[in-house]
Symmetry: C2
Subunit: 328 residues, 2 copies
């Protein structure tokens, strides 16, 4: 049997997530017939390395999508809004890592381990949205438990790495950490910044709004209460989440652990005195969960700690898993 | 009127908190007749600077406390356990920054803005305990609201700076941040470590147990549910807290803000699109609070963000404020 192979565009190919997408396409031996790395004017004349070759960057434009069958977008919301329709008109399936299409009722929002069945809704627009990098690990944990108990409320406080803010932010973190002079309005190094995205009228940030909205859409359950505080911390790669879950009924900690052990894409840290950290999980595929304990302040409360690589499961890996589900 | 002035010992005078104690005694013009900096054998022959003079370190021993009237301890629990009674036998009042006496029913645990009346209970042992560095800002926020509403449950996730782990940890953070080789079991730089203190049987760490215990003791109310997740992040100075409060009755956000504005020792960040960060509050006295918003997932829920200097209000400043309340 010969597998079909695809002409694949990566839009934002020089960015942190785009680079990770190229790496994961190789690592997972995704059947790529031709790779089309696409970036802005700034990258004109540059190339990226893929499967042992230097591939010239195409500057973002309508002709760049000619013949593309799969387009992975990670170049910001404005570019997705303008060029995802261009890609679909050229015949491509789009998997979009921005937030612009996520709440569109005609666009499925997919974590393959959680709601692969939603992919079939992509027939209209041929766009599938990749969820937020902190929403993915949170929803995977909730989904693992949902087979055993109804989760009624979630309080989550995130510890998000600077790579989530892009390459320039990561360079700033490193420069500031080494006492090199740089001017940015808020210093990442040695700091905690409780703002990710713009503020909304009710005092939450855009990031804090995405987490409940995406949880409701992916789990197809708007009754679950989710309140988030999202904070940028000086980690390079790896978003951490302190999660407090409230359940409708009793569930033993052993059942919680079993559910997490059995869930696809989740690794339970078994040693009760160990736990995952960003440095441990950077470069790994799974969502790592530890510190599972009873929250004694509510009837059926559970606290836990989850960490995942925001560039991989939080972005590039999940996007490519979606493409695999559709195309392979 | 001539103010009485005191012979004051600082035990742990070369540590981060001890150094801050010396600085704050100067800054607040505490009436010091004679300063007695006390440290371990390792600091023998060294001196510290106080009020313009070099003062030789005394090595920790019983005779070092002769004539001392106020002894500020910040040298770890074992030294407090062994030498606080030595200091009180010598006639001193002890203000202890360790956790060993905090839950002793004969030892008051005091935040001067919250429960100054508890100080009178110190007549027996002549020891007053200084609360945990993350418990102090949390309790100050709860107390500010308690005049208006009954707080029934608190979920708190902390972002604690590395200075809270001592001078050596802070040196490790800086060295690792600059890519200098050092070996420590868990790297602070570019990481988040969800363990502060040893693990207990129920899966919480020692730090996570202190926060509810100290809240109950200081507010004299064991009914309030408090659940904590405490995490070390690569900030140098300044502990941050993501706090979710549940109240028994309705309270408007404007009342919450007014309560915080009126509370001693709390500064409200008034601009709704601004917020305190560790870099902003390092070196400052107040607990800074911002990001006040309605938690829509419970009937009377409030989310907020608090940051304070863990070496000052979280340790040295609060200890000296206690001493001022007793002696001045």
């Amino acid at each position: 049997m010969t597998l079909k192979s695809y002409k694949v565009a990566v839009v934002g190919a020089t960015g942190l997530v785009g680079q990770e997408m190229l790496k994961i396409l190789e690592q997972r031996r995704f059947p790529v017939k031709e790779i089309v790395p696409i970036a802005s004017e700034r990258s004109a004349g540059k190339s990226v390395r893929f499967a042992g070759s230097e591939v010239p960057i195409r500057v973002l434009s309508t002709p760049a999508f000619a013949g593309v069958e799969l387009a992975l977008f990670s170049a910001g919301g404005n570019i997705s809004r303008d060029f995802a329709p261009v890609a679909t008109s050229a015949g491509a399936l789009v998997v979009d890592n921005s937030s612009v299409f996520r709440m569109d009722p005609d666009v499925p929002l997919v974590i393959p381990e959680v709601n692969p069945e939603a992919i079939q809704l992509a027939t209209n627009k041929r766009i599938i949205a990749n969820p937020n990098c902190s929403a993915i690990p949170l929803i995977m944990v909730i989904h693992a438990l949902c087979k055993h108990v109804r989760v009624t409320r979630v309080v989550v406080s995130t510890y998000q790495s600077v790579s989530g803010a892009g390459r320039r932010a990561l360079q700033e973190l490193i420069a500031h950490s080494q006492d090199l002079a740089l001017t940015s309005p808020r210093q990442y190094a040695f700091n905690c910044i409780p703002q990710i995205g713009e503020f909304t009228d009710d005092g939450f940030t855009a990031e804090e709004k995405k987490i409940p909205q995406e949880t409701h859409k992916i789990l197809n359950d708007a009754s679950i209460g989710v309140v988030a505080t999202t904070v940028r911390v000086p980690a390079k790669i790896g978003h951490s989440l302190s999660i407090n879950l409230e359940c409708a009924d009793a569930i033993s900690l052993e059942t919680v652990k079993d559910a997490l052990r059995q869930a696809d894409g989740i690794s339970l840290v078994e040693n009760a005195k160990d736990y995952p950290t960003p440095l441990d999980v950077a470069g790994k595929d799974d969502v790592y969960v530890g510190r599972i304990r009873r929250d004694p302040t509510v009837p059926h409360g559970i606290c836990l700690w989850a960490v995942s690589d925001n560039l991989r499961k939080g972005a590039a890996l999940n996007a490519i898993q979606i493409a695999e589900n559709v195309l392979l």
